[in-house]
């Protein structure tokens, strides 16, 4: 232990002045700073102590400068302050002014320094000259930027001109907002292609589809602050302790503050999250849909639901139940699925019919099915029945990566809506995200194959028209006739379709950025093709990366990208908070900002192309790029980001463009419905419901949660969407005033539960009956175990950044197969043995652990997916949820034998 240097915390002014006077040694000063900050963070008064830009705080003293930033290592999206001196990062501090984390980071905050400076950073463009070396870690040679860009542009242009169904971009929930917006614009308007989809398809798609189905708007109504206020937490298949550390810390802090607060952890394996829960309920894989229906059945049959709330805010529906399981190539196109995902896939029912459908899910039936005791199920149901309890449900991958993941999202909303526990402080369902900007980028700016910015859809004429106006495109440019001018009317290929097509030789050009598909896709045996790799070998593959990954092994060109704070970027996290990370240091070598790379390729590909008689490239990107200079019009990434942001922001501030506003309000009666009696119901887009603020506001506020409203010259975020109350207090005052339900005199109707679901057409959420469906595969004699995959604390996804940090690699050096001791005994394997895990799809070898991070029950095994030498996705099946097309990574059936 070091000697005690501090008996009390000096105030910040004294620290600063003493440091300036050099009376304290640098070390003492740093220690005093460290202590001051931590004491203040513990007391929640950190905000006044830190200053940005070297102003008025204990950071940024002397020659250093402080930048606001956002951590990039999980879906929480915590704010951090980055202090830079001599061109390098010298300290990081939890940002007290970012309300997502209020000055606290998890231990992963340590990595932020190290990931920038890991070994093997990619600093030069790389080109593969000999295709025979594909699939190995050799064969890439250094090239100049011009050489690499020319080659990529030439290939992309050739494929585009020949057959644009054979090109694709794989985007990411880690791609900053401005970059994602520009990519979507280039792909959708520049190339008229919808073959762009993000890796968020693998993690959030089920949540997205359910949000749209139930509320007709994406993303949660509540916010992280609910974690400080709830009485009961329910984690559904979510290991928050490792995957969302700072949010979990808020949850445990709430429990420590009040011993009446309870946490129920539901899942198929025990995790670190179970360790601190009041009760863990382990259920048989896939039976969560039955458990939620069982709770609903109890609420309805015992009349313990919130009648007034239900009457005011809910409409009831049923949907196609026989969806099958998606494995075959042409499966999406079958009539059955087309019907299930189209307008005929759901239909309205009476509440009594819904009640009848639930009847099967008695405690007894559900207990037998799920393995959770009747008493525990009852206890859980009582939580929802208790009118005085504020309940927060939290979920991510266990629910989303599920062969009926969209249904399970529905079912969680169903029980919260039935019990009226929705959109109130500390009370409501909260869908966590897996990546720091899965919301901000993948979902909000339109990098999904079916979307445009601001939740708009490519298949909707009004949405396309609105987009055309804001992108300066002639009317109909994005398509107005399926036969003659299809434009982008038809959604493109979703992620799994892109990669199935790639492996089948039906994709000729693929570009990926901010992801590592060769490690993260399910069923890599199918996609990388053991033996039959032809598609991947023949296609031209481009990878933008910061460190070498497995995907680089298949690349024809690798672009070295600037990472994290080596450029300016923006993230949008799960609580709808948009935050900016400033450029603080320069990228190493020749690594470049992704937006620069994209513009370079776009300029080359669109050379000579015209839109409505004008130069294509200039029409789309002329505001930020100078073609003669072959560079941005301004050196400042801040200025470029601002221009792009202002354009994007117009999508959510329709009055900034009067023509767009007319489309938003359906002025001119074009897009609505005319009834038999001639009355016209306009189709209103209600785009102010997603309102974003000017760029600088995000810097000065350290992030803001949309919808952001200008009140007396100040921009205020919204913590609880759809909830009535004052904007200053975080409620959705302006959203409700603008779009809420009004009586004939134009006065707002006050409603039970204090909410107004104004984004839905009838002011009512859809409670859709979604039954239990068995997993796509079930254990049998040949493949007797369920294999569940996931993340652990130390390594972020496929480990492409975290594994370059030696300490992290030492802390979790190897992916282990967590097994139940009874299963080990039965198989005659013991801790430390190598085993072969084999499924119907592929196999891999791995070491067994009976004392691993997770504790699966008998019959279930778990392994994380970070290790490229233990490529577990070789065996994981690629069955996906038919509605969301998100694969189920949690329930592959496998055999285990000693290797």
């Amino acid at each position: 232990m070091v000697e005690k240097m501090l008996n009390e915390v000096p105030d910040s002014t004294s620290i600063v002045s003493e440091a300036v006077n050099s009376e304290l040694s640098r070390r003492s000063f740093v220690k005093a700073t460290a202590a001051t900050l931590a004491v203040a963070a513990a007391a929640g008064t950190l905000s006044s102590l830190v200053g940005c830009g070297g102003q008025g705080g204990v950071l940024g003293v002397g020659n250093s400068k402080v930048y606001t930033s956002v951590c990039r290592f999980c879906g929480c999206g915590c704010g951090v302050l980055c202090e830079v001196a001599g061109g390098r990062l010298v300290s990081v501090t939890g940002d007290p002014d970012n309300a997502s984390n209020k000055g606290l980071n998890c231990v992963k905050g340590y990595y932020l320094a190290k990931v920038l400076y890991g070994k093997d950073r990619l600093t030069k463009p790389l080109i593969r000259k000999d295709k025979a070396t594909k699939g190995t870690d050799s064969g890439l040679t250094e090239a100049s930027w011009d050489e690499a860009l020319d080659l990529v542009a030439e290939k992309l242009k050739a494929v585009w001109k020949e057959d644009k169904s054979r090109l694709a971009f794989w985007a990411s929930g880690q791609q900053p907002i401005v970059e994602g917006y520009l990519t979507a614009k280039f792909w959708k308007a520049g190339l008229l292609s919808n073959n762009i989809d993000p890796n968020a398809r693998l993690c959030m798609a089920s949540a997205v589809v359910a949000f749209m189905n139930v509320f007709q708007t994406d993303e949660p109504a509540g916010c992280y602050e609910d974690l400080d206020l709830a009485d009961v937490f329910i984690t559904w298949g979510a290991n928050m302790a490792e995957a969302h550390p700072v949010l979990y810390s808020r949850l445990t802090a709430r429990k420590l503050n009040d011993s009446n607060v309870k946490h129920y952890d539901l899942g198929t394996i025990k995790t670190r999250t179970s360790a601190s829960a009041n009760k863990t309920m382990l259920f048989k894989p896939g039976t969560d849909n039955a458990i939620a229906n069982c709770i609903a059945n109890y609420l309805v049959s015992e009349e313990k639901y919130d009648k007034k709330f239900v009457e005011a805010h809910c409409q009831f529906k049923a949907g196609t139940e026989d969806l099958g399981n998606a494995y075959e190539d042409g499966w999406d196109a079958t009539d059955k699925l087309q019907e299930a995902t189209g307008n005929d896939g759901v239909w309205g029912i009476e509440f009594s019919e819904y009640a009848d459908m639930l009847k099967k899910y008695t405690f007894k039936y559900t207990s037998e099915l799920s393995g959770v005791s009747e008493a525990d199920l009852k206890e859980l149901a009582e939580v929802f029945a208790d009118k005085n309890k504020k309940v927060m449900s939290l979920w991510t991958m266990g629910v989303n990566q599920h062969n009926r993941g969209t249904w399970m999202n529905h079912n969680i909303y169903n029980i919260h809506l039935l019990s009226g526990k929705f959109a109130q402080p500390g009370c409501g369902p909260f869908s966590l995200t897996g990546q720091p900007t899965a919301c901000g980028t993948a979902r909000e700016v339109g990098t999904f194959a079916h979307r445009l910015p601001a939740d708009l859809l490519v298949a909707n004429g009004q949405h396309r028209r609105y987009t055309e106006v804001l992108w300066g495109l002639p009317s109909g440019y994005l398509g107005d006739d399926e036969e003659k001018n299809p434009g982008i009317m038809k959604p493109g290929k979703h992620t799994i379709k892109i990669f199935r097509d790639l492996s089948n030789g039906d994709i000729d050009f693929l570009w990926s950025a901010h992801n590592n598909w060769a490690g993260s896709l399910p069923n890599l045996t199918r996609f990388l093709g053991k033996g039959e790799k032809k598609g991947i070998m023949d296609a031209f593959i481009v990878v933008s990366e910061v460190y070498p990954t497995l995907s680089c092994d298949y690349a024809d060109v690798v672009f070295p990208a600037a990472m994290w704070i080596e450029r300016e970027g923006q993230f949008g996290n799960a609580e709808r908070r948009t935050a900016i990370f400033e450029k603080a240091v320069d990228p190493p070598g020749d690594a470049k900002w992704d937006a620069w790379i994209l513009m370079q390729v776009a300029q080359r590909v669109l050379d000579g192309e015209v839109i409505g008689g004008n130069d294509s490239f200039d029409t789309l990107f002329g505001t930020i790029w100078d073609k003669d200079k072959k560079d941005f019009i301004n050196e400042s990434q801040r200025e470029i980001s601002k221009i792009v942001w202002e354009e994007y922001r117009t999508f959510t501030n329709p009055t900034m463009n009067p023509t767009a506003d007319d489309i938003n309000n359906d002025v001119g009666d074009k897009f609505g419905v005319t009834a038999d009696d001639g009355t016209y119901t306009p189709a209103k887009l209600k785009l102010f419901a997603k309102q974003m603020a000017p760029y600088d506001e995000y810097l000065s506020n350290h992030g803001l949660t949309w919808p952001v409203r200008e009140v007396d010259g100040k921009w205020l975020g919204t913590k609880w969407r759809f909830a009535a109350g004052k904007q200053e207090d975080g409620f959705d005052e302006y959203g409700i005033a603008q779009y809420g339900q009004k009586d004939d005199a134009g006065k707002l109707i006050s409603k039970p539960g204090n909410i107004d679901l104004y984004k839905t057409a009838k002011y009512k959420a859809s409670v859709t009956f979604r039954p239990y469906e068995p997993p796509a595969e079930n254990p049998d004699a040949e493949y007797p175990f369920w294999f569940c995959t996931g993340r652990l604390l130390e390594h972020w996804h496929t480990g492409s950044m975290t594994r370059v940090v030696p300490e992290l690699d030492r802390a979790l050096p190897e992916a282990l197969l967590d097994m139940n001791a009874a299963d080990c005994e039965k198989l005659g394997v013991k801790d430390g043995d190598m085993v072969t895990v084999k499924s119907r799809h592929g196999e891999f070898n791995i070491r067994v652990s009976t004392a691993g991070r997770t504790a699966p029950p008998a019959g279930v095994v778990f392994a994380p997916f970070f290790a490229k030498e233990t490529l577990i996705n070789l065996a994981v099946h690629d069955y996906y949820d038919p509605l969301s097309k998100e694969p189920d990574y949690k329930k592959t059936c496998v055999s285990i034998t000693k290797a």
């Binding site: 460290a34 004491v39 010298v90 501090t93 606290l104 700072v246």
Partner: protein, 85 residues
């Protein structure tokens, strides 16, 4: 030296024992306690070493959370070397 400060959360009636256990660890200084929180300083040669120490706190009976507030690595020889390459 890499100097870091953390807020360690503990089960309320075990805060004192957690603080005592933390204080026994080399290069860890318990600065103060507030409710269920213990403020600690960690001094170590490198970020890696500091991270290793901080991560080990989870093994202490009664610790429920480890929050990093500040870490200063201006003197980390590993980082200085990596940057200079």
């Amino acid at each position: 030296m890499v100097i870091s400060s953390l807020v360690i959360e503990a089960i309320p009636d075990q805060v004192d024992s957690v603080a005592a256990e933390l204080a026994k660890i080399d290069n860890v200084e318990v600065h103060s306690t507030q409710d269920y929180k213990v403020v600690v300083l960690v001094e170590a040669e490198t970020v890696d070493a500091s991270h290793a120490i901080a991560s080990s706190f989870i093994n202490i009976e009664g610790v429920t959370g480890i929050n990093l507030v500040y870490t200063n690595f201006e003197d980390d020889p590993d980082i200085i070397e990596a940057v200079s390459q």
